[in-house]
Amino acid sequence: MKYVESLNQALHRLLDKDSRVLLLGEDVLDPYGGAFKVSKGLSTAFPDRVFTMPISEAAIVGMGTGLAMRGMRPVVEIMFGDFILLAADQIVNSATKFPLMFNSKISVPLVIRVPMGGRRGYGPTHSQTLETFFMNTPNLDIIAPSHLHDPGQLLENAVLASDGVTLFVENKSLYAQELMDINQPHAIFEFQKLGGSEDLLYPTIKVSIRDVEKQDIVLIAYGGMSPFVLQAAEKAFFEEEIAVTCLLVSQVKPLPMGTLRRVCASVGKVLIVEESLKYGGWGAELSAQLHQSQAKNSPIHIRRIGASEFVIPSSKELEEKMLPQVQDIYQATKDLFNEC
């Protein structure tokens, strides 16, 4: 099953099983079914519960907030995640703030779906990874399934099992990707689903080189970077015999630090990989927390890779130079292995 199908089916299930679930977004009606087809078929099956919206991103999020405050379970689709900044005030100063400032008198169970990421040649305003903008928003969950997760299940969790605001990040480059079944044996990797009380709904997938005991380096990544880190891990192992363990996080915020710390502490070398800007990005907080968690005599060496401080060029060739590639991750892995 493809990533996009998993999400689409989950929305069908959600609308089917819970009458509080509603869908709002631009161009979501059939036959179009949304710019990336995640909403395909929904308006046909549930004509009264799928609402096409004008080009009004702030109002789309605001409407979702109002519906949620009155007991609905709205899922709003932002056509391109780049447009989420139009709703930044709505997210920070209303949706997430109301439950806190109103002393928990109300809840806002709202899911905001944001297709993020580049690699499609859409250029500077249609390719960004902007969820990191919201890293210091209290009371906001940021969730981003990889192709090793069950994206549909995670979406269901966000819609029904969470009572708060969720920014649900779908990397555009994953939509057409076949999901990887981590319960099937794999030629190179072995998989383990990690999670405790802090990340129950949104597990982290641990990927290690099959039948290899040693672990030299931990790569931490999420969402659209997942296929890249797996390839880099494979390459590092076969070309350099570096044993890389990948942690594919789905709970981008709050960081599942318990889970991550346990793995990182024992390995001691960590490379954080993200598609968003490295500067002030996701890895910054993660690095700061990992640093602070170092035990007295076992230091952790942390490095980060992310997009460069620039716009995302339209030209495919130039875009590649901006965003982290397999080769970059592989190189940084080697460097870290040799450096510390």
């Binding site: 789309i60 519906l67 209303s94 109103f102």
Partner: protein, 300 residues
């Protein structure tokens, strides 16, 4: 419905007026800190409109929300405690003057930001086939915010039972409407296909009658409506920040909604209702002073 309309409206109007005056006094005595935005002069709007609302009808208000809140709930105790930052406040001191929530009443301090939120709330009422209406209060200055028009458009497209009360006091903080607003307010709401009523009055009874008709209709036809009330802010924007001349304000005072209602009451009724309001407020102050501050422990 009401025994004596003037008295019933006055009961609420005078509670708001005296409450706001007490709040300004407490500020000037240093017994309140932070901020406040007095509703003095506009009481007739809140009372005229909200008197028609029921428990299940939602009201969303702005920085100048005390009047709306008192008209909807009568809860001077919770409001004053909230202003004082006490545990017994409406939001136990977290929200303060402009961020309150009690049952179906809400306010927020970002101008205009809740307009799409009330559209979502009104859509819920429509989907659930209730007869409830959602009412939002905004000021003339807030018509500068773009999201307001996103909300007008969607409210009209989906025909939701949203009453937008635009309290046009012809000023925003210190800026007169001429410097803030081009064209006309009524033309703006109408341009989005929203039925619009404009009132040029500070008479609570006139507002009451007009709002009554609008709201009764909305309970049936489930459509949005804009009610523009041209009125006057008689006090400072917040506290002590009035840049208008004494003369200009004196001029406005001729339309003060309080004496306007009082002229229709017996001396006895007026005095009694004033006394009752004062008693409510003093009691609220007493209770708020009794209350402690809630505990809050957080990692920094």
């Amino acid at each position: 419905m009401l025994v004596n309309l003037s008295e019933e409206l006055y009961r609420k109007v005078i509670l708001i007026r005296l409450f706001e005056e007490r709040v300004l006094t407490l500020f000037s005595q240093g017994k309140l800190s932070g901020t406040t935005h007095a509703y003095i002069g506009q009481e007739a709007n809140a009372v005229g409109v909200i008197s028609h609302l029921r428990e299940e009808d939602t009201v969303f208000s702005n920085h100048r929300c005390h009047g709306h809140y008192l008209a909807k709930t009568g809860d001077a105790v919770g409001l004053l405690a909230e202003l004082m930052g006490k545990e017994t406040g409406i939001c136990s001191g977290l929200g303060g003057s402009q961020h309150i929530c009690n049952r179906n009443f809400f306010s927020n301090g970002i101008q205009g930001s809740y307009m799409p939120i009330v559209v979502g709330m009104a859509l819920t009422e429509k989907l659930r086939n209730t007869s409830a209406v959602v009412t939002a209060f905004i000021g003339d200055g807030t018509l500068g915010q773009g999201v307001v028009y996103e909300a007008f458009n969607i409210a009209s497209l989906y025909q939701v039972p949203l009453l937008v009360v635009i309290e046009n006091n012809r000023i925003a903080q210190t800026t007169p409407i001429e410097l803030n607003l081009a064209g006309s307010i009524a033309a703006r709401t109408q341009a989005f296909g929203i039925a619009t009523t404009e009132l040029d009055t500070t008479d609570a009874e006139v507002i009451f009658d007009c709002a009554g008709e609008i709201i009764a209709n909305m309970r049936e036809d489930r459509r949005p409506h804009a009610l523009i009330i041209n009125s006057q802010r008689l006090g400072p924007h917040s506290k002590g920040d009035d840049t208008r001349t004494e003369e200009a304000i004196a001029d406005m005072r001729r339309l003060d909604p309080v004496p306007l209602l009082e002229a229709r009451l017996t001396n006895q009724a007026r005095e009694q209702l004033r006394a009752e309001a004062n008693e409510i407020i003093s009691q609220a102050e007493f209770l708020a002073n009794q209350s402690g501050v809630r505990s809050l422990e957080m990692a920094k």
